[in-house]
């Protein structure tokens, strides 16, 4: 563009405009990643057009369950967070760090580029990032985004289109964590989906010069005051419809003071230590290193793969693991997420997306666990939630 288009006011685009934005991003060299229905779940994957978005799909979030449900409209983003998060793309589950070959002098290491096998990292456009997930990306930036890192290379090129929430799920609590339901920073474009008698439209907020550039390539109209007010109030109202709540004040201290709590035994009796919560969590970042060779022993590789603090091997030192009991591993996860994350990375590690509740096979609900820990510390009896199990 010769000059940055001046589009300070929110714009309105129709469903055609969303398609045009998609095409503009593809033409701009982006791999567009977004939600799509696959095997009965809403997954994140590379899309070939905006028509692949899960139009008319919703989900019913519940502890240990995620049934899809048809909506009575054609909303593209009328669903809550699915099993995957964007870390899958910025912090891939499995990545080769280098390969090496045995030589006369010893061995020689050939480092892969920032994008792994192919060298340059792919340029992603993330379409449909929920405000909670936007904060999750921001949190992982602080953990993994050391300048020059592979993560930083992938992250710096990513174009982010956020979608504000108007229909929080049954396990959502972003309003408690202060991360939603409205995206307030960190996006190039932010959409609020409107489906009413005036048709299916998106209110578009611009968050960066790059965002302005792309919305300038798409047919749009200025958003009237009524449309803006309608969109804003729908998002504001969503804060009052969260399926869960978690008192965020004093969490760090609560975690630090609860090492000896009896509640850990209670949750350990239910927890399978399967690690699903850590895989589904948009901020969990732990990895392990695998050094391998081929059958000849002449070629070696180093791989980085996602790991989980629920794995017994995670804390292995010669002679045994530090955290052998189930309770110590659940405690590590929760106290790190809500407590010591502050010490290590300057914020909480929880964004209130509720994935760990939904994807726990036995439906452990961290908001209930926190409530119980709080009650225990205050010397109370069993919390209300405990009897409902």
């Amino acid at each position: 563009m010769a000059s940055a288009p001046a589009i300070p006011v929110p714009r309105l685009i129709g469903i055609d405009g969303l398609g045009a934005l998609f095409e503009a991003l593809v033409a701009g060299g982006y791999h567009v990643i977004g939600p799509a229905v696959q095997d009965g779940a809403i997954v994140l994957r590379e899309l070939s057009s905006a028509a692949e978005l899960p139009h008319g799909w919703g989900v019913r979030l519940q502890p240990g369950g995620y049934p899809g449900r048809p909506r009575d409209d054609t909303a593209a983003f009328g669903h809550a967070a699915g099993p995957q998060s964007w870390k899958r793309f910025l912090h891939p589950p499995r990545e080769r760090l280098w390969s090496a070959t045995r030589t006369a002098a010893g061995f020689e290491v050939a480092e892969d580029g920032a994008g792994g096998e192919s060298g340059a990292p792919p340029r992603y456009a993330f379409l449909g990032v929920r405000p909670c997930d936007l904060r999750a990306i921001e949190i992982q930036d602080r953990v993994l985004g050391q300048p020059g890192s592979r993560y930083a290379a992938r992250r710096s090129g990513a174009f982010i289109i956020a979608v504000n929430c108007t229909e929080p799920g049954e396990t959502c609590f972003c309003a408690s964590m202060g991360t939603g339901p409205s995206a307030d920073r960190g996006y190039d474009l932010s959409l609020t989906e409107l489906a009413d008698e005036r048709g299916h439209r998106f209110l578009v907020d611009v968050g960066s010069p790059r965002g302005a550039e792309f919305i300038g390539r798409v047919p749009s109209e200025p958003a009237g005051e009524q449309a803006v007010r309608g969109a804003r109030s729908a998002v504001e109202a969503a804060a009052d419809h969260m399926g869960r709540q978690m008192e965020a004040g004093g969490l760090r201290e609560l975690m630090a003071d609860s090492h000896g709590a009896a509640r850990w035994d209670d949750v350990a009796a239910r927890c399978l230590t399967c690690g699903n919560c850590t895989m589904a969590c948009p901020t969990c970042f732990c990895t392990t290193i695998e050094d391998t060779t081929d059958l000849t022993g002449e070629h070696a590789e180093r791989w980085e793969t996602w790991d989980s603090c629920f794995d017994l091997d995670f804390s292995y030192l010669h002679g045994g693991s530090v955290r052998t009991s189930d309770k110590s591993r659940y405690r590590q996860w929760l106290t790190h997420k809500l407590g010591t994350w502050h010490d290590q990375f300057g914020s909480s590690g929880c964004v209130g997306c509720g994935r760990c509740i939904v994807w726990c096979p036995v439906g452990i609900d961290l908001t209930e666990e926190v409530k119980a820990l709080r009650t225990e510390r205050e010397g109370g009896t069993e919390p209300d939630g405990a009897e409902e199990r």
Binding site: L97, W98, A100, R102, A105, G106, F107, E108, V109, E111, V143, L144, Q146, P147, G148, S149, H259, F285, C286, T287, T288, I289, D291, T292, T293, G297, A300, R302, E304, D307, C309, F314, S315, Y316, L317, H318, G319, V322, R323, T324, S325, S328, R331, Q332, H336, T340, D343, Q344
Partner: protein, 283 residues
């Protein structure tokens, strides 16, 4: 000694890429422990400070964290390794001419200079003497800067003592070296007992003592507690902690000990910081 220390992170461009080092010397310390001399085949890593560690890679086998036990001329790394698993067995079996991958140096150091003008008290248990050797060598290299330099060594048996040929040299250079073993054997006429038993007589003036403690966690807890009980300020007692480490650069999450990422915030921490953490089971 309690000053906040800037963490040292290797050049971020390729923190996971090992540098090739050639084994130029190998000394069997005990039946399961070997000291390797490693000379850079290409560019050396930054010079480690006393107490820092490297990640050592045996080709095709794997990588483990190992503290640095000395620095030689020409960027030679001296690293003492006990064979306790597949990778350490492969490293211990390395012969002169073999190549070892090295990443680092990582972590915090012992802050030896904090002991200026005071008594240096080094308390080592078993392989814990390896990361403390650079403290002793640093103190002896500038002997006049310190008052007393005392090294207390505990080992399971006389056969498990490390650096035995150097002990006399250290004494000659002005260190007060005292040794004890858990179990004596034929020909042993030294002390038998825990290293904590040596502590009482080793402290001249607790307020002017800087202590450096490394060994099994239980030994560090008991030693540091005994030092604190004797009046050494908890902030002047440093210990070196160990947890599972995979990356060395605060990315993999394995080395968490409560609020600490030990590859970044440790391994060397003050006892004041370590007390509440070591007291918690399965933290």
């Amino acid at each position: 000694m309690t000053a906040v220390q800037e963490p040292v992170i290797a050049a971020p461009a390729a923190p996971m890429r090992p540098a090739g080092y050639l084994v130029t010397g190998r000394k069997e310390e005990t039946s399961d422990t070997v000291t390797l001399m490693l000379r850079p085949a290409g560019d050396p890593i930054q010079t480690p400070r006393p107490g820092q560690f490297t990640m050592l890679y045996a080709f095709g086998v794997g990588e483990v964290p190992v503290s640095v036990s000395g620095i030689g001329h020409g960027h030679v790394l001296v690293q003492t390794i006990r064979a306790v698993g597949a990778v350490t067995r492969a490293l211990c079996a390395a012969a002169p001419g073999d190549m070892i991958g090295v990443r680092g140096p990582f972590g915090t150091d012992w802050q030896v200079s904090g002991a200026d003008g005071r008594d240096v008290l080094i308390v080592a248990g078993g392989i814990g003497l390896a990361p403390l050797r650079p403290v002793l060598l640093a103190a002896l290299a500038e002997r006049a800067r310190y008052d007393r330099v005392v090294l207390l060594v505990g080992a399971r048996s006389p056969g498990d003592l490390l650096f035995t040929r150097e002990l006399e040299t250290w004494r000659r250079r002005g260190a007060d070296v005292r040794i004890t073993v858990d179990h004596g054997q034929a020909g042993w006429d030294g002390r038998v007992g825990l290293v904590t038993a040596l502590l009482k007589d080793a402290i001249a003036d607790p307020a002017r003592t800087a202590a450096f403690v490394c060994g099994p966690e239980i030994m560090m807890r008991l030693s540091a507690q005994a030092l604190a009980d004797a009046g050494v300020p908890a902030g002047d007692i440093r210990v070196s902690l160990e947890r599972n480490m995979r990356c060395g650069v605060a990315l993999c999450g394995h080395c968490q000990l409560g609020p600490l990422l030990l590859c970044r915030d440790g391994p060397c921490v003050s006892y004041a910081e370590a007390v509440p953490l070591l007291a918690k089971k399965e933290l």
